[in-house]
Protein backbone atom coordinates (compact mmCIF):
# COMPACT_ATOMS: atom_id res chain seq x y z
CA UNK A 1 0.00 0.00 0.00
CA UNK A 2 2.82 2.40 0.70
CA UNK A 3 5.82 0.91 -1.03
CA UNK A 4 8.35 3.39 -2.39
CA UNK A 5 11.14 2.42 -4.75
CA UNK A 6 13.95 4.79 -5.72
CA UNK A 7 15.97 3.56 -8.65
CA UNK A 8 19.26 5.13 -9.78
CA UNK A 9 18.17 8.57 -8.65
CA UNK A 10 20.51 11.41 -9.55
CA UNK A 11 20.05 15.14 -9.03
CA UNK A 12 22.12 17.87 -10.59
CA UNK A 13 21.98 21.57 -9.73
CA UNK A 14 23.78 23.11 -12.70
CA UNK A 15 27.12 21.34 -12.34
CA UNK A 16 26.74 20.28 -8.72
CA UNK A 17 25.96 16.57 -8.36
CA UNK A 18 23.74 16.76 -5.29
CA UNK A 19 22.43 13.20 -5.20
CA UNK A 20 24.38 10.32 -6.70
CA UNK A 21 22.92 6.97 -7.77
CA UNK A 22 20.46 6.66 -4.93
CA UNK A 23 18.85 3.22 -4.79
CA UNK A 24 16.42 2.15 -2.11
CA UNK A 25 13.34 -0.03 -1.69
CA UNK A 26 11.09 1.08 1.11
CA UNK A 27 8.61 -1.53 2.28
CA UNK A 28 5.03 -0.80 3.18
CA UNK A 29 4.65 0.40 6.77
CA UNK A 30 8.39 0.89 7.12
CA UNK A 31 9.86 3.92 8.89
CA UNK A 32 13.00 4.90 7.01
CA UNK A 33 15.31 7.67 8.18
CA UNK A 34 17.70 9.57 5.92
CA UNK A 35 20.49 10.93 8.09
CA UNK A 36 23.67 12.84 7.40
CA UNK A 37 25.40 16.21 7.78
CA UNK A 38 24.11 19.38 6.09
CA UNK A 39 24.38 19.31 2.35
CA UNK A 40 24.51 15.52 2.08
CA UNK A 41 21.47 15.40 -0.20
CA UNK A 42 18.95 13.90 2.20
CA UNK A 43 16.44 16.76 1.96
CA UNK A 44 16.86 16.93 -1.81
CA UNK A 45 16.03 13.24 -2.08
CA UNK A 46 12.98 13.69 0.13
CA UNK A 47 11.77 16.58 -1.98
CA UNK A 48 12.16 14.49 -5.09
CA UNK A 49 9.92 11.85 -3.56
CA UNK A 50 7.45 14.63 -2.76
CA UNK A 51 7.58 16.06 -6.26
CA UNK A 52 8.92 19.43 -5.16
CA UNK A 53 12.20 18.94 -7.02
CA UNK A 54 12.62 17.58 -10.51
CA UNK A 55 14.53 14.32 -10.88
CA UNK A 56 17.59 14.63 -13.10
CA UNK A 57 17.65 10.90 -13.86
CA UNK A 58 16.24 7.74 -12.41
CA UNK A 59 12.76 6.66 -11.36
CA UNK A 60 10.69 6.95 -8.25
CA UNK A 61 7.71 4.61 -7.96
CA UNK A 62 5.02 4.45 -5.34
CA UNK A 63 3.18 1.11 -5.21
CA UNK A 64 4.63 0.11 -8.53
CA UNK A 65 3.58 3.26 -10.36
CA UNK A 66 6.33 5.56 -11.63
CA UNK A 67 5.56 9.03 -10.28
CA UNK A 68 8.34 11.11 -11.83
CA UNK A 69 5.96 13.24 -13.84
CA UNK A 70 3.18 13.41 -11.28
CA UNK A 71 2.52 16.67 -9.46
CA UNK A 72 2.89 16.55 -5.67
CA UNK A 73 -0.84 16.64 -5.14
CA UNK A 74 -1.37 13.55 -7.24
CA UNK A 75 1.12 11.33 -5.42
CA UNK A 76 -1.08 10.79 -2.36
CA UNK A 77 1.65 11.81 0.03
CA UNK A 78 1.70 14.18 2.99
CA UNK A 79 4.64 16.24 4.20
CA UNK A 80 5.61 17.81 7.52
CA UNK A 81 8.00 20.74 7.05
CA UNK A 82 10.79 21.86 9.35
CA UNK A 83 9.14 25.24 9.81
CA UNK A 84 5.69 23.65 9.93
CA UNK A 85 4.41 25.84 7.03
CA UNK A 86 1.07 26.42 8.70
CA UNK A 87 -1.22 28.84 6.89
CA UNK A 88 -1.02 31.88 9.20
CA UNK A 89 -4.35 33.38 8.28
CA UNK A 90 -6.37 30.20 8.88
CA UNK A 91 -7.45 28.60 12.12
CA UNK A 92 -6.04 25.26 13.20
CA UNK A 93 -9.20 23.57 12.01
CA UNK A 94 -8.98 25.20 8.59
CA UNK A 95 -5.29 24.36 8.34
CA UNK A 96 -6.02 20.71 8.88
CA UNK A 97 -9.10 20.75 6.69
CA UNK A 98 -7.46 22.50 3.77
CA UNK A 99 -6.16 19.43 1.97
CA UNK A 100 -9.49 17.67 2.29
CA UNK A 101 -11.30 20.77 1.10
CA UNK A 102 -9.13 20.90 -2.00
CA UNK A 103 -10.02 17.32 -2.75
CA UNK A 104 -13.70 18.13 -2.34
CA UNK A 105 -14.46 15.97 0.67
CA UNK A 106 -17.91 16.44 2.20
CA UNK A 107 -18.10 18.69 5.25
CA UNK A 108 -19.18 15.99 7.70
CA UNK A 109 -16.36 13.74 6.54
CA UNK A 110 -13.86 16.56 6.96
CA UNK A 111 -15.13 17.30 10.46
CA UNK A 112 -14.85 13.62 11.38
CA UNK A 113 -11.30 13.25 10.14
CA UNK A 114 -10.10 16.49 11.72
CA UNK A 115 -11.59 15.53 15.07
CA UNK A 116 -10.03 12.10 14.82
CA UNK A 117 -6.57 13.52 14.13
CA UNK A 118 -6.98 16.21 16.77
CA UNK A 119 -7.84 13.58 19.36
CA UNK A 120 -4.85 11.44 18.50
CA UNK A 121 -2.56 14.45 18.83
CA UNK A 122 -4.28 16.04 21.80
CA UNK A 123 -4.99 19.37 20.12
CA UNK A 124 -8.77 19.22 20.27
CA UNK A 125 -9.01 22.48 22.22
CA UNK A 126 -6.86 24.42 19.82
CA UNK A 127 -9.01 24.03 16.75
CA UNK A 128 -10.27 27.60 16.72
CA UNK A 129 -6.91 29.26 17.31
CA UNK A 130 -4.56 30.78 14.80
CA UNK A 131 -0.98 29.49 14.39
CA UNK A 132 0.58 32.58 15.90
CA UNK A 133 -1.25 31.87 19.15
CA UNK A 134 0.36 28.45 19.50
CA UNK A 135 3.66 27.29 20.99
CA UNK A 136 6.28 25.50 18.89
CA UNK A 137 5.21 22.09 20.09
CA UNK A 138 1.57 22.80 19.40
CA UNK A 139 2.34 24.04 15.90
CA UNK A 140 4.28 20.88 15.31
CA UNK A 141 1.25 18.82 16.21
CA UNK A 142 -0.98 20.85 13.93
CA UNK A 143 1.46 20.23 11.09
CA UNK A 144 1.30 16.52 11.91
CA UNK A 145 -2.48 16.69 12.07
CA UNK A 146 -2.64 18.28 8.65
CA UNK A 147 -0.67 15.35 7.30
CA UNK A 148 -2.64 12.68 9.15
CA UNK A 149 -6.15 13.72 8.04
CA UNK A 150 -5.22 13.01 4.46
CA UNK A 151 -4.67 9.29 5.17
CA UNK A 152 -1.84 9.33 2.65
CA UNK A 153 0.16 6.40 1.39
CA UNK A 154 3.46 7.88 2.55
CA UNK A 155 4.41 10.40 5.22
CA UNK A 156 7.39 12.63 4.50
CA UNK A 157 9.14 14.43 7.34
CA UNK A 158 11.70 17.18 6.73
CA UNK A 159 13.59 17.64 10.02
CA UNK A 160 10.33 18.27 11.89
CA UNK A 161 11.89 18.36 15.36
CA UNK A 162 14.83 20.67 14.63
CA UNK A 163 13.05 23.82 15.73
CA UNK A 164 11.97 22.48 19.10
CA UNK A 165 13.92 22.83 22.32
CA UNK A 166 15.82 19.79 23.58
CA UNK A 167 13.28 18.51 26.09
CA UNK A 168 10.35 18.88 23.72
CA UNK A 169 12.33 17.11 21.05
CA UNK A 170 12.77 14.02 23.21
CA UNK A 171 9.07 14.05 24.05
CA UNK A 172 7.97 14.43 20.45
CA UNK A 173 10.30 11.65 19.33
CA UNK A 174 8.46 9.21 21.54
CA UNK A 175 5.11 10.50 20.34
CA UNK A 176 6.13 10.16 16.73
CA UNK A 177 7.17 6.57 17.34
CA UNK A 178 3.84 5.81 19.00
CA UNK A 179 2.02 7.53 16.15
CA UNK A 180 3.79 5.41 13.59
CA UNK A 181 2.98 2.20 15.49
CA UNK A 182 -0.62 3.25 15.65
CA UNK A 183 -1.15 4.44 12.07
CA UNK A 184 1.15 2.02 10.32
CA UNK A 185 1.75 4.35 7.35
CA UNK A 186 5.05 4.21 5.49
CA UNK A 187 7.26 7.10 6.56
CA UNK A 188 10.40 8.72 5.18
CA UNK A 189 12.09 10.93 7.75
CA UNK A 190 15.01 13.30 7.21
CA UNK A 191 17.22 14.47 10.07
CA UNK A 192 20.79 15.44 10.85
CA UNK A 193 20.46 14.09 14.38
CA UNK A 194 21.75 10.53 14.65
CA UNK A 195 19.87 9.97 17.91
CA UNK A 196 16.57 10.58 16.13
CA UNK A 197 17.69 8.27 13.36
CA UNK A 198 18.59 5.46 15.73
CA UNK A 199 15.48 5.72 17.90
CA UNK A 200 12.89 6.23 15.18
CA UNK A 201 14.06 4.27 12.18
CA UNK A 202 13.25 0.72 11.22
CA UNK A 203 16.04 1.24 8.77
CA UNK A 204 18.51 4.09 8.50
CA UNK A 205 20.15 5.49 5.37
CA UNK A 206 23.38 7.37 6.11
CA UNK A 207 24.34 9.86 3.42
CA UNK A 208 27.36 12.02 2.77
CA UNK A 209 28.01 14.37 -0.15
CA UNK A 210 25.10 12.97 -2.11
CA UNK A 211 26.21 9.36 -1.78
CA UNK A 212 24.61 6.64 0.33
CA UNK A 213 27.18 5.38 2.83
CA UNK A 214 25.21 2.57 4.36
CA UNK A 215 21.66 1.27 4.66
CA UNK A 216 20.63 -0.93 7.54
CA UNK A 217 18.86 -1.38 10.81
CA UNK A 218 20.11 0.95 13.56
CA UNK A 219 21.97 -1.74 15.47
CA UNK A 220 23.61 -2.98 12.31
CA UNK A 221 24.97 0.51 11.65
CA UNK A 222 26.19 0.73 15.20
CA UNK A 223 27.87 -2.66 15.37
CA UNK A 224 29.03 -3.09 11.80
CA UNK A 225 29.63 0.33 10.26
CA UNK A 226 30.57 0.02 6.61
CA UNK A 227 33.12 2.81 6.72
CA UNK A 228 34.83 5.34 8.93
CA UNK A 229 32.23 8.01 8.25
CA UNK A 230 29.30 5.89 9.43
CA UNK A 231 31.32 4.68 12.39
CA UNK A 232 32.06 8.23 13.45
CA UNK A 233 28.60 9.56 12.70
CA UNK A 234 26.53 7.00 14.55
CA UNK A 235 26.91 6.85 18.32
CA UNK A 236 27.56 9.55 20.85
CA UNK A 237 30.19 10.35 21.99
CA UNK A 238 31.77 9.55 18.62
CA UNK A 239 34.02 6.59 18.04
CA UNK A 240 37.71 7.10 18.71
CA UNK A 241 40.06 6.76 15.76
CA UNK A 242 43.81 6.22 15.77
CA UNK A 243 46.20 5.72 12.91
CA UNK A 244 48.11 2.48 13.48
CA UNK A 245 50.64 0.30 11.67
CA UNK A 246 50.06 -3.47 11.51
CA UNK A 247 53.10 -5.48 12.54
CA UNK A 248 53.73 -9.16 13.03
CA UNK A 249 55.49 -9.84 16.34
CA UNK A 250 56.04 -13.44 17.38
CA UNK A 251 53.19 -14.69 15.22
CA UNK A 252 50.80 -12.27 16.87
CA UNK A 253 49.27 -9.50 14.76
CA UNK A 254 49.73 -6.14 16.48
CA UNK A 255 48.34 -2.70 15.81
CA UNK A 256 50.91 -0.15 16.84
CA UNK A 257 51.40 3.57 17.09
CA UNK A 258 53.28 5.97 19.36
CA UNK A 259 50.76 5.61 22.14
CA UNK A 260 49.56 2.04 22.08
CA UNK A 261 50.28 -1.49 21.08
CA UNK A 262 47.22 -3.69 20.73
CA UNK A 263 47.25 -7.42 20.09
CA UNK A 264 44.53 -8.13 17.58
CA UNK A 265 42.29 -10.96 18.87
CA UNK A 266 41.94 -14.25 17.00
CA UNK A 267 38.96 -13.89 14.64
CA UNK A 268 39.80 -10.40 13.59
CA UNK A 269 43.49 -11.28 13.16
CA UNK A 270 42.67 -13.85 10.47
CA UNK A 271 40.99 -11.18 8.40
CA UNK A 272 43.72 -8.65 8.86
CA UNK A 273 46.76 -10.79 8.29
CA UNK A 274 47.04 -9.60 4.71
CA UNK A 275 47.58 -6.04 5.90
CA UNK A 276 50.85 -6.54 7.73
CA UNK A 277 53.14 -3.56 7.27
CA UNK A 278 50.32 -1.26 6.22
CA UNK A 279 48.77 1.71 7.91
CA UNK A 280 45.18 1.26 9.04
CA UNK A 281 42.75 3.27 11.14
CA UNK A 282 41.74 1.69 14.41
CA UNK A 283 38.33 2.47 15.84
CA UNK A 284 36.99 1.88 19.32
CA UNK A 285 33.91 3.41 20.87
CA UNK A 286 34.20 5.30 24.18
CA UNK A 287 31.75 2.91 25.79
CA UNK A 288 33.97 -0.02 24.79
CA UNK A 289 36.91 1.31 26.82
CA UNK A 290 37.15 0.61 30.53
CA UNK A 291 39.69 1.10 33.25
CA UNK A 292 42.18 -1.77 33.04
CA UNK A 293 41.85 -4.46 35.69
CA UNK A 294 44.36 -7.13 36.56
CA UNK A 295 42.26 -9.68 34.72
CA UNK A 296 42.65 -7.84 31.42
CA UNK A 297 45.33 -9.31 29.12
CA UNK A 298 48.22 -6.86 28.69
CA UNK A 299 47.91 -6.94 24.94
CA UNK A 300 44.55 -5.27 25.18
CA UNK A 301 45.52 -2.33 27.38
CA UNK A 302 47.35 0.89 26.87
CA UNK A 303 48.40 3.88 29.00
CA UNK A 304 46.72 7.25 28.75
CA UNK A 305 47.01 10.69 30.30
CA UNK A 306 43.79 12.26 31.56
CA UNK A 307 43.13 15.77 30.25
CA UNK A 308 39.48 16.48 31.12
CA UNK A 309 37.03 14.73 33.40
CA UNK A 310 33.35 15.17 32.46
CA UNK A 311 30.92 14.05 35.13
CA UNK A 312 27.56 13.08 33.69
CA UNK A 313 26.16 11.31 36.71
CA UNK A 314 25.31 8.11 34.87
CA UNK A 315 28.86 7.78 33.59
CA UNK A 316 32.13 9.68 33.42
CA UNK A 317 33.67 10.84 30.16
CA UNK A 318 37.41 10.94 30.29
CA UNK A 319 39.18 12.95 27.62
CA UNK A 320 42.59 11.31 27.47
CA UNK A 321 45.78 11.60 25.52
CA UNK A 322 47.14 8.44 23.94
CA UNK A 323 50.43 9.08 22.23
CA UNK A 324 49.66 11.71 19.60
CA UNK A 325 45.90 11.13 19.68
CA UNK A 326 43.12 12.20 21.97
CA UNK A 327 40.42 9.73 22.88
CA UNK A 328 37.26 9.68 24.91
CA UNK A 329 36.49 6.87 27.32
CA UNK A 330 33.05 6.43 28.87
CA UNK A 331 33.63 4.74 32.22
CA UNK A 332 31.72 3.79 35.33
CA UNK A 333 30.67 6.66 37.57
CA UNK A 334 32.51 5.02 40.44
CA UNK A 335 35.92 5.54 38.87
CA UNK A 336 38.14 8.01 40.68
CA UNK A 337 40.13 9.93 38.17
CA UNK A 338 41.95 13.23 38.30
CA UNK A 339 43.33 15.48 35.63
CA UNK A 340 46.98 14.83 34.69
CA UNK A 341 46.84 11.35 36.16
CA UNK A 342 47.99 8.43 34.09
CA UNK A 343 45.41 5.71 33.67
CA UNK A 344 45.64 2.38 32.02
CA UNK A 345 42.63 1.68 29.73
CA UNK A 346 41.47 -1.67 28.40
CA UNK A 347 39.68 -2.46 25.14
CA UNK A 348 36.71 -4.76 24.75
CA UNK A 349 38.21 -7.12 22.13
CA UNK A 350 34.90 -7.92 20.47
CA UNK A 351 34.36 -4.25 19.66
CA UNK A 352 37.49 -3.34 17.77
CA UNK A 353 37.07 -1.85 14.33
CA UNK A 354 39.61 -1.40 11.59
CA UNK A 355 39.32 0.80 8.53
CA UNK A 356 41.45 1.11 5.43
CA UNK A 357 43.56 4.25 5.75
CA UNK A 358 42.82 5.39 2.19
CA UNK A 359 39.34 4.17 1.29
CA UNK A 360 38.04 4.34 4.86
CA UNK A 361 36.06 1.17 4.24
CA UNK A 362 35.64 -1.22 7.12
CA UNK A 363 37.76 -4.32 7.06
Amino acid sequence: MGQVVLKDINKFYDSVHAVKDFNLQIRDKEFVVFVGPSGCGKTTTLRMIAGLEAISSGDISIDGQVVNELAPMDRDIAMVFQNYALYPHMSVYDNMAFGLKMRKFARPEIAKRVKEAADILGIGELLKRKPRQLSGGQRQRVALGRAIVRHPRVFLFDEPLSNLDAKLRVQMRVELKKLHLRLGTTAVYVTHDQVEAMTLGDRVVVMKDGLVQQVGEPLELYNQPANKFVAGFIGSPAMNFAAVTMTDGNGRLTAKNSGLEIEVPGGLADRLRGHVGRQLTLGIRPEDLHVARDADPAGLTFPSKIEVVEQLGSEILLDVRVGDDTMVAAVDPTVRAKVAETLRLAINPERLHFFDAKTEAAI
Binding site: G51, L52, E53, A54, P72
Partner: protein, 283 residues
Amino acid sequence: MIEGAKWRRWVYFYIPMVLFLLVLLFPFYWMVITTVRPDGELYRPWNAPNYAPFWTWNPTFDHIRLLFEETLFATWLLNTMLIALASTLISLVCGVFAGYALARLKFPYAGSLGTGIFITYLVPQTLLFIPLADIIRNFRLGDTPWALILTYPTFLIPFCTWLMMGYFKAIPKELEECARIDGASRWKAMIYIILPVAVPGILSAGIFAFTLSWNEFIYALVFMSSSEEKTVPVGVVSELVRGDVFYWGPLMAGALLGSIPVAIAYAFFVEHYVSGLTGSVKG
Protein backbone atom coordinates in the same frame (compact mmCIF):
# COMPACT_ATOMS: atom_id res chain seq x y z
CA MET B 1 8.26 24.02 -7.69
CA ILE B 2 8.47 21.71 -10.57
CA GLU B 3 8.54 23.63 -13.79
CA GLY B 4 6.29 22.16 -16.36
CA ALA B 5 7.20 21.43 -19.93
CA LYS B 6 9.36 24.01 -21.61
CA TRP B 7 6.53 25.41 -23.68
CA ARG B 8 4.71 26.28 -20.50
CA ARG B 9 7.54 28.45 -19.37
CA TRP B 10 7.43 30.31 -22.65
CA VAL B 11 3.70 30.88 -22.61
CA TYR B 12 3.26 31.72 -18.97
CA PHE B 13 6.41 33.64 -18.37
CA TYR B 14 8.60 34.78 -21.22
CA ILE B 15 5.91 36.07 -23.50
CA PRO B 16 3.97 38.04 -20.88
CA MET B 17 7.22 39.42 -19.46
CA VAL B 18 8.39 40.62 -22.86
CA LEU B 19 5.00 42.14 -23.59
CA PHE B 20 5.02 44.03 -20.32
CA LEU B 21 8.50 45.34 -20.94
CA LEU B 22 7.64 46.41 -24.48
CA VAL B 23 4.53 48.28 -23.46
CA LEU B 24 6.15 49.93 -20.46
CA LEU B 25 9.27 51.06 -22.28
CA PHE B 26 7.99 51.86 -25.76
CA PRO B 27 7.05 55.50 -25.06
CA PHE B 28 10.63 56.19 -23.98
CA TYR B 29 11.96 54.64 -27.12
CA TRP B 30 9.53 56.82 -29.02
CA MET B 31 10.81 59.88 -27.17
CA VAL B 32 14.38 59.09 -28.16
CA ILE B 33 13.61 58.38 -31.79
CA THR B 34 11.56 61.53 -32.17
CA THR B 35 14.29 63.65 -30.63
CA VAL B 36 16.81 62.69 -33.27
CA ARG B 37 14.52 62.44 -36.21
CA PRO B 38 14.63 65.30 -38.69
CA ASP B 39 11.43 67.30 -39.26
CA GLY B 40 10.91 65.99 -42.75
CA GLU B 41 10.61 62.43 -41.50
CA LEU B 42 8.80 63.46 -38.38
CA TYR B 43 5.78 65.00 -39.95
CA ARG B 44 4.61 62.16 -42.07
CA PRO B 45 1.00 61.10 -41.64
CA TRP B 46 0.65 57.62 -40.28
CA ASN B 47 -1.12 56.32 -43.29
CA ALA B 48 1.42 57.66 -45.71
CA PRO B 49 3.22 54.89 -47.55
CA ASN B 50 6.70 55.80 -46.41
CA TYR B 51 5.91 55.89 -42.71
CA ALA B 52 8.83 54.11 -41.16
CA PRO B 53 8.43 54.65 -37.47
CA PHE B 54 10.96 52.58 -35.70
CA TRP B 55 14.22 53.82 -37.01
CA THR B 56 15.79 56.78 -38.73
CA TRP B 57 18.79 56.84 -40.95
CA ASN B 58 19.37 60.55 -40.66
CA PRO B 59 19.65 61.36 -37.01
CA THR B 60 19.91 65.03 -36.22
CA PHE B 61 20.67 67.15 -33.22
CA ASP B 62 18.68 70.08 -34.52
CA HIS B 63 15.87 69.69 -32.07
CA ILE B 64 18.20 69.58 -29.15
CA ARG B 65 20.01 72.62 -30.41
CA LEU B 66 16.74 74.48 -30.84
CA LEU B 67 15.81 73.50 -27.35
CA PHE B 68 18.90 75.01 -25.83
CA GLU B 69 19.22 78.02 -28.09
CA GLU B 70 15.71 79.24 -28.49
CA THR B 71 14.25 78.41 -25.12
CA LEU B 72 15.44 78.75 -21.59
CA PHE B 73 15.64 75.00 -21.22
CA ALA B 74 19.05 75.10 -19.61
CA THR B 75 17.76 77.58 -17.06
CA TRP B 76 14.77 75.39 -16.36
CA LEU B 77 17.05 72.43 -15.81
CA LEU B 78 19.05 74.41 -13.32
CA ASN B 79 15.96 75.68 -11.56
CA THR B 80 14.45 72.26 -11.26
CA MET B 81 17.69 70.77 -10.02
CA LEU B 82 18.17 73.51 -7.45
CA ILE B 83 14.62 73.31 -6.20
CA ALA B 84 14.66 69.53 -6.06
CA LEU B 85 17.92 69.39 -4.15
CA ALA B 86 16.93 72.13 -1.73
CA SER B 87 13.50 70.73 -0.95
CA THR B 88 14.91 67.23 -0.64
CA LEU B 89 17.46 68.49 1.84
CA ILE B 90 14.86 70.32 3.91
CA SER B 91 12.53 67.36 3.85
CA LEU B 92 15.26 64.94 4.83
CA VAL B 93 16.31 67.03 7.80
CA CYS B 94 12.74 67.49 8.96
CA GLY B 95 11.88 63.88 8.21
CA VAL B 96 14.88 62.46 10.03
CA PHE B 97 14.26 64.59 13.09
CA ALA B 98 10.55 63.96 13.16
CA GLY B 99 10.99 60.28 12.45
CA TYR B 100 13.46 59.93 15.28
CA ALA B 101 11.23 61.82 17.68
CA LEU B 102 8.21 59.72 16.84
CA ALA B 103 10.07 56.42 16.84
CA ARG B 104 12.26 56.83 19.87
CA LEU B 105 11.05 59.49 22.22
CA LYS B 106 8.14 59.40 24.58
CA PHE B 107 6.14 62.56 24.84
CA PRO B 108 2.51 63.57 25.11
CA TYR B 109 0.42 63.52 21.95
CA ALA B 110 3.05 61.45 20.15
CA GLY B 111 0.35 59.25 18.72
CA SER B 112 -1.83 62.06 17.46
CA LEU B 113 1.11 63.92 15.99
CA GLY B 114 2.09 60.82 14.07
CA THR B 115 -1.44 60.46 12.82
CA GLY B 116 -1.51 64.15 12.00
CA ILE B 117 1.54 63.86 9.80
CA PHE B 118 0.00 60.84 8.12
CA ILE B 119 -3.20 62.78 7.46
CA THR B 120 -1.35 65.61 5.74
CA TYR B 121 0.03 63.08 3.29
CA LEU B 122 -3.51 62.36 2.28
CA VAL B 123 -4.30 65.97 1.43
CA PRO B 124 -3.40 66.25 -2.24
CA GLN B 125 -1.79 69.30 -3.76
CA THR B 126 -4.70 69.79 -6.11
CA LEU B 127 -6.86 70.48 -3.12
CA LEU B 128 -4.64 73.20 -1.73
CA PHE B 129 -3.22 74.92 -4.75
CA ILE B 130 -5.74 77.73 -5.00
CA PRO B 131 -5.62 79.01 -1.42
CA LEU B 132 -1.91 78.29 -1.33
CA ALA B 133 -1.39 80.52 -4.37
CA ASP B 134 -3.00 83.30 -2.43
CA ILE B 135 -0.78 82.73 0.58
CA ILE B 136 2.35 82.60 -1.57
CA ARG B 137 1.41 85.87 -3.06
CA ASN B 138 0.80 87.42 0.33
CA PHE B 139 4.22 86.31 1.53
CA ARG B 140 5.62 87.82 -1.62
CA LEU B 141 7.21 84.54 -2.59
CA GLY B 142 5.47 84.33 -5.92
CA ASP B 143 7.64 83.66 -8.92
CA THR B 144 10.72 82.85 -6.84
CA PRO B 145 12.24 79.45 -6.25
CA TRP B 146 11.39 79.83 -2.57
CA ALA B 147 7.73 79.37 -3.36
CA LEU B 148 8.51 75.83 -4.35
CA ILE B 149 11.40 75.10 -2.02
CA LEU B 150 9.16 75.83 0.95
CA THR B 151 6.00 74.15 -0.32
CA TYR B 152 7.42 70.95 -1.79
CA PRO B 153 8.41 69.67 1.65
CA THR B 154 4.71 69.58 2.52
CA PHE B 155 4.28 66.42 0.54
CA LEU B 156 7.84 65.18 0.97
CA ILE B 157 8.14 65.39 4.75
CA PRO B 158 5.30 63.01 5.67
CA PHE B 159 6.77 60.36 3.46
CA CYS B 160 10.33 60.91 4.72
CA THR B 161 9.15 60.86 8.32
CA TRP B 162 7.33 57.67 7.83
CA LEU B 163 10.18 55.94 6.13
CA MET B 164 12.69 57.06 8.72
CA MET B 165 10.38 55.96 11.53
CA GLY B 166 10.49 52.48 10.12
CA TYR B 167 14.26 52.49 9.93
CA PHE B 168 14.72 53.95 13.40
CA LYS B 169 12.40 51.45 14.93
CA ALA B 170 14.53 48.67 13.50
CA ILE B 171 17.69 49.93 15.19
CA PRO B 172 18.11 48.21 18.55
CA LYS B 173 17.70 50.44 21.55
CA GLU B 174 20.85 49.01 23.06
CA LEU B 175 23.00 50.98 20.62
CA GLU B 176 21.79 54.27 21.95
CA GLU B 177 21.77 53.19 25.56
CA CYS B 178 25.35 52.03 25.22
CA ALA B 179 26.35 55.37 23.72
CA ARG B 180 24.64 57.31 26.47
CA ILE B 181 26.33 55.26 29.15
CA ASP B 182 29.58 55.96 27.37
CA GLY B 183 28.91 59.63 27.95
CA ALA B 184 27.06 60.93 24.91
CA SER B 185 24.05 63.18 25.28
CA ARG B 186 20.81 62.17 23.59
CA TRP B 187 21.51 64.63 20.85
CA LYS B 188 25.05 63.36 20.27
CA ALA B 189 23.89 59.77 20.40
CA MET B 190 21.41 60.54 17.70
CA ILE B 191 23.90 62.30 15.48
CA TYR B 192 26.89 60.04 15.89
CA ILE B 193 25.40 56.65 16.47
CA ILE B 194 21.90 56.41 15.08
CA LEU B 195 22.21 58.46 11.93
CA PRO B 196 25.16 56.59 10.44
CA VAL B 197 23.30 53.33 10.94
CA ALA B 198 20.22 54.77 9.29
CA VAL B 199 22.08 55.93 6.19
CA PRO B 200 20.40 53.42 3.84
CA GLY B 201 17.06 54.76 4.99
CA ILE B 202 18.19 58.32 4.43
CA LEU B 203 19.36 57.47 0.94
CA SER B 204 16.05 55.80 0.18
CA ALA B 205 14.06 58.73 1.43
CA GLY B 206 16.36 61.10 -0.38
CA ILE B 207 16.13 59.52 -3.79
CA PHE B 208 12.39 59.11 -3.44
CA ALA B 209 11.96 62.75 -2.43
CA PHE B 210 14.20 63.85 -5.28
CA THR B 211 12.13 62.07 -7.91
CA LEU B 212 8.90 63.26 -6.36
CA SER B 213 9.89 66.91 -6.40
CA TRP B 214 11.15 66.68 -9.97
CA ASN B 215 7.77 65.26 -10.83
CA GLU B 216 5.69 68.01 -9.20
CA PHE B 217 3.70 70.14 -11.58
CA ILE B 218 0.70 72.04 -10.34
CA TYR B 219 2.41 74.15 -7.71
CA ALA B 220 5.14 75.05 -10.18
CA LEU B 221 2.54 75.86 -12.79
CA VAL B 222 0.52 78.12 -10.54
CA PHE B 223 3.24 79.83 -8.53
CA MET B 224 5.73 80.58 -11.28
CA SER B 225 4.94 82.91 -14.13
CA SER B 226 8.11 84.24 -15.68
CA SER B 227 10.10 82.09 -18.06
CA GLU B 228 13.34 82.32 -16.10
CA GLU B 229 11.82 80.83 -13.00
CA LYS B 230 10.00 77.90 -14.51
CA THR B 231 10.83 74.30 -13.85
CA VAL B 232 11.35 71.78 -16.62
CA PRO B 233 7.84 70.25 -16.60
CA VAL B 234 6.19 73.65 -16.66
CA GLY B 235 8.56 75.09 -19.23
CA VAL B 236 8.18 72.19 -21.60
CA VAL B 237 4.42 72.33 -21.38
CA SER B 238 4.00 76.05 -21.70
CA GLU B 239 6.76 77.26 -23.95
CA LEU B 240 7.25 74.59 -26.52
CA VAL B 241 3.76 75.02 -27.78
CA ARG B 242 3.23 78.18 -29.82
CA GLY B 243 -0.49 78.72 -30.14
CA ASP B 244 -1.91 75.50 -31.39
CA VAL B 245 1.26 74.30 -32.98
CA PHE B 246 3.26 71.64 -31.22
CA TYR B 247 6.91 71.53 -32.06
CA TRP B 248 7.20 67.83 -31.48
CA GLY B 249 10.89 67.53 -32.17
CA PRO B 250 12.06 69.99 -29.52
CA LEU B 251 9.18 68.90 -27.31
CA MET B 252 10.34 65.32 -27.24
CA ALA B 253 13.90 66.53 -26.87
CA GLY B 254 12.79 68.52 -23.87
CA ALA B 255 10.89 65.57 -22.48
CA LEU B 256 13.88 63.32 -22.96
CA LEU B 257 16.50 65.63 -21.56
CA GLY B 258 14.21 66.64 -18.74
CA SER B 259 13.90 63.01 -17.74
CA ILE B 260 17.58 62.19 -17.88
CA PRO B 261 18.74 63.76 -14.59
CA VAL B 262 16.08 61.89 -12.68
CA ALA B 263 16.83 58.67 -14.52
CA ILE B 264 20.52 58.99 -13.74
CA ALA B 265 19.92 59.69 -10.07
CA TYR B 266 17.53 56.77 -9.98
CA ALA B 267 20.01 54.49 -11.71
CA PHE B 268 22.54 55.06 -8.96
CA PHE B 269 20.11 54.38 -6.21
CA VAL B 270 17.71 51.79 -7.59
CA GLU B 271 17.95 49.47 -4.63
CA HIS B 272 17.39 52.35 -2.25
CA TYR B 273 14.46 53.62 -4.25
CA VAL B 274 12.79 50.22 -4.26
CA SER B 275 13.28 49.70 -0.55
CA GLY B 276 11.95 53.20 0.07
CA LEU B 277 8.91 52.48 -2.02
CA THR B 278 8.20 49.15 -0.40
CA GLY B 279 9.16 50.33 3.06
CA SER B 280 6.60 53.06 2.96
CA VAL B 281 3.88 50.62 2.05
CA LYS B 282 4.79 48.09 4.68
CA GLY B 283 5.22 50.58 7.46
